[in-house]
Amino acid sequence: MTRTLLTRVALAALIVAAWELLPRSGVVNPVFLTPASEVARTIWELFTSGELAVHARVSLVRILEGLGLAIVLGVPLGLGMGAFRGFERAVDAPLQAGRQISAIALFPVFILFFGIGELSKVMIIFWASLWPVLLSTVAGVKGVDPVLVRSARSMGARRGTLFRKVILPAAAPSIFTGVRLGAAYAFMVLVAAEMIGANAGLGFLVLNSQEVFAIPRMYAAIVALAAFGLAVNAVLLAAERRATAWREAAGT
């Protein structure tokens, strides 16, 4: 355990050191690659000036709205598809087709319909994160042990109760996996959306910094994006651990 931790720290230190020394020694042009220490200083400046918070908040709201919408629509739809074969067969063809359409390809269409404002950005994040949420919900429902359903039915559980008290908790681990994957997809299209017709957000900050040749700021924004993604994933993981604590219990 401590050994793997040591190698991990060592590897990270090595990468940071290379990042610092390659531009400093002139092996890589320091105009194109800002040394790590300078990127760190720029992040600190962006942080203390409050500029980072402004962009991060804009990006966070977009993620929460897009991913939230994907969860609110994808989970019930997935529950229905997983539980009712007839319903699944009816909606399967259009959904399979929809899944193949890249969210980025749809962005011009969304701009056409919803304008260049927030709505079109939220919509492409929704579109990208819907599929993993939906598909893993369907898989989760189909994986529910029929014995548990039978057991609940034998104690008088009807459809609504069955969904709330058996199918949803049994499918929860799979749904959470889908949500985390959805969040990762959401980040990818967030950056793309913020690079087209946005005036705030971490993705905007990356592209805008490059355009005005503020290269240290560009790297700072990229690092901030990565940290932001890790933080969101950590929050989702913590929520998942809390909600499915019973799975960890087996090991103790």
């Binding site: 548990l148 039978r150 609940a152 039915r153 034998s154 104690m155 008088g156 008290k165 087996a250």
Partner: protein, 295 residues
């Protein structure tokens, strides 16, 4: 038309036929063929038959989980679906892995609409009776097989059904645990006076537990015979398995069942795997031990 409550059977199974539809063009499978059976109020009746003969199907039909032709009447009311007047204990425990032991036991009470404090009180009492008070906050994955089955039993008893339907509940347990739980079940039965239908493929288990044993034929399932088991009581007080009465019962069931297992497997020499050949010298005890009767 009205029968006095005391003589009315707790469960009446009348001409129940069940065939499962085959997938696509495959022919259907006749699982139960015109099964009729009365279960007396307060008795422990075992359904004994070879694997695949339709025991679970019959139990699920009584439980209202499976629809079939014919009629099942429980306490005078025709069965139309599942209900809290019947509690089912499944072979594979069927505990909810995301619920603690206490919350599992309280499930039926939730369905009954009892308020939370009442649910906890009853669930705790049931856990105490099966000796698992110390485990109420554990999850099922943290329990042994025997403990899980105790929780399943407590869960079924918690909502106080008139009838307990048990589907090979101890089949997956090791021999010692199984014997312990058999004795516990007899105690529960004596304490609560519940009507119990107990599915098993073990002759030994059927004789040890049941007042009557219904032998089910190989597929399609029919009731071949119903045997009375008369053993010195209480059964759990001494080593009842070594009494001549026990041996005699076991022998009679072994004969009945071996024909079915032979038929089921299509092999000439097949015999029930769980049975041990009877001792010949005890034929005289057979007559005392049980009275045979056609179903």
């Amino acid at each position: 038309m009205t029968t006095p409550l005391s003589t009315r059977p707790a469960i009446r199974v009348a001409h129940v036929t069940k065939s499962y539809r085959g997938a696509g063009a495959a022919p259907g499978l006749l699982a139960l063929d015109d099964v009729s059976l009365d279960v007396r109020r307060g008795e422990l009746l075992a359904l004994l038959g070879p694997s695949g003969c339709g025991k679970s199907t019959l139990l699920h039909v009584i439980g209202g989980l499976v629809q079939a032709e014919g009629q099942v009447v429980v306490n005078g009311a025709p069965v139309r679906g599942p209900g809290l007047d019947r509690g089912i204990v499944f072979q594979d425990y069927a505990l909810f892995p995301w619920r603690t032991v206490l919350a599992n036991v309280a499930f039926g009470l939730e369905m009954k609409g009892l308020p939370a404090p009442e649910r906890s009180r009853i669930a705790r009492e049931q856990l105490r009776l099966v000796g698992l008070s110390a485990f109420e906050d554990r999850y099922p994955s943290q329990l042994s097989g025997g403990m899980k089955q105790r929780v399943a039993l407590a869960r079924a008893l918690a909502f106080d059904p008139d009838v307990l339907l048990m589907d090979e509940p101890f089949a997956a347990l090791d021999a010692q645990t199984r014997e312990l739980l058999q004795i516990e079940l007899l105690r529960v039965w004596e304490r609560t006076g519940k009507t119990i239908v107990f599915v098993t493929h073990s002759i030994d288990e059927a004789v040890f537990l049941a007042q009557r044993v219904a032998v089910i034929t190989a597929r399609p399932g029919r009731v071949k015979e119903v045997l009375d088991v008369e053993l010195p009581s209480p059964r759990h007080a001494r080593d009842v398995r070594s009494t001549p009465e026990f041996t005699a019962c076991r022998h009679a069931l072994w004969e009945l069942l071996s024909e079915e297992v032979t038929r089921a497997s299509g092999e000439a020499s097949a015999a029930p795997a769980v049975a041990t050949p009877p001792r010949r010298g005890l034929l005289g005890a057979f007559a005392r031990a049980f009275s045979r009767r056609a179903a």
